[in-house]
Subunit: 287 residues, 2 copies
């Protein structure tokens, strides 16, 4: 099997490494904006050759993985559409799905049935081919949002490829996906970025950062995520993210009131219930 | 040197283990509310004996470390005051300092000069003697907030004990401490608790948690912290925490406006600057 990776970063690179490790592909071609990153990818054995552009990369490919920031998806779909083999399948790594499906419909036109949208829920604050790992998807979720134009065989095939990477694959609608991810992923990213942004602008920022410790480091880890990728996610999923931000703002105002009133018992109950919920989740869903 | 640990949890237990490893103490006695936890501490070699109460524990002690939740400090100071050797020093592990100093003045009375307040900025979401480690303070900050009643020799001695645990020790006023920690520690804890609290109450909570991944796990790690300890911190430092919550709420409303308006360029700039600030901090201050 010949695979084309468009955007050979953390997700694209890890997908290629995982498929190679599982002996599910013979040859990987890569294309991307940064020549330097592609050279790293070739040196690490992630890709076997570098393509000049999307049109050339997808020629002869059996599988195309689109893993650029989602803002570039439509142009990539347009560029690949005339050159896709009729038997080729396309999947992606986008963190939003309604906008990706809309871009695919516009860009792929009558080839839309060849695209099986996917979101590997396995990000990291590191980016680029240098950060890719064959084990990134092991035990992680991949959410498919299949289209009515997909054949069951196409969906099965894309599912089995993500499973070959070690992922647990499930399916939902693009709208359901965007709602769930806004709450558990997009919102925390925005909250972490906002905290660092708030503190770094202070006159005493140096003293503040000097006394930040492990809790702060982990809380803000996702504020080291790829700014362009998160810009695109925030723009693409803005209605759901705004909804989540407003709910969170309301919640936080209630907590502020409890702190202001010195309501120790109510705060302890809230903390206790949050800890219980998180610990239950960790035990059940995580490793 | 004989050491008494009041509250043999993560901080108290780690202090005892670190001092023993550095051969800076001969014997450690422990006292606490949970017999089970004290038995764990004795089995792990953290303490050598279990005291019935604070009064008994501090008798003959050269150093007393107070590491219960801060809400119990005043009672502990009162209980130890009549039984402290004149040469004994007292330090603590409280995450707030203005309230701790006030409690010490009330509880210790004329013995106040024997107390050198300290905050080891080295928490973890794990608690209890089982989680203690001789290396917890290695490279971490300990903030002393010395009192005008402390002799320079007392401050030097307490400083050298925390340094023997591997900590980098600096000093500031209790008010400055409470301001800094409200921003870089207390605020993120409240934000993380609030997020889990918000999501766990939803009708679709199970679906949400099922798709939460590594970013969520790290962002909310501190929401698994000790609820009683954080209740006491929120009550003790409420004015500074409320100030921080309000500044954060204002910041978040501005970010919400950017997302709502689809202001991609402004969002990317904010994310980029936050990432830069965090990465600079990580490189400079962390390990």
């Amino acid at each position: 099997m010949r695979v084309a990776i468009i955007g050979v970063g953390l997700i694209g690179g890890s997908f290629a490494l995982a498929l190679k490790k599982a002996r599910r592909c013979r040859e990987v071609v890569g294309v991307g904006r940064s020549r330097k990153n592609l050279v790293v990818a070739r040196r690490r054995g992630i890709i076997d050759s570098i393509s000049a552009d999307v049109a050339q990369a997808v020629q002869g490919a059996d599988l195309v993985l689109l893993t650029t920031p989602v803002g570039q998806f439509e142009r990539a779909f347009r560029a690949m559409a005339p050159h896709l083999k009729p038997s080729a399948l396309v999947t992606d790594g986008g963190s939003t799905k309604r906008d990706v499906v809309a871009a695919a419909r516009r860009g792929l036109g009558r080839r839309i049935g060849q695209f099986v949208p996917a979101h590997p829920v396995a990000g990291a604050e590191k980016s680029g081919a240098a950060a890719a790992s064959a084990d990134l998807f092991k035990g992680r979720r991949v959410i498919l949002t299949p289209l009515k134009e997909n054949t069951p065989a196409s969906v099965r095939r894309v599912k089995s490829l993500w499973q070959a990477c070690g992922a647990r694959v499930n399916a939902m609608s693009p709208a359901a996906h965007d709602k769930v991810l806004a709450a558990v992923s997009h919102l925390p990213h925005v909250l972490a970025y906002a905290l660092v942004s708030e503190l770094k602008g202070r006159a005493n920022a140096a003293a503040l950062f000097a006394h930040a410790a492990g809790g702060f480091r982990d809380f803000t880890r996702i504020a080291s995520s790829h700014p362009e990728m998160w810009r695109d996610i925030c723009v693409a999923n803005r209605d759901e993210i705004v909804r989540e931000l407003r709910r969170y703002l309301r919640r936080l105002k209630r907590v502020e009131k409890l702190v202001r009133g010195g309501r120790g018992a109510a705060l302890e109950r809230l903390f206790e219930q949050a800890r219980e919920a998180r610990d239950r989740w960790l035990k059940a869903a995580w490793r």
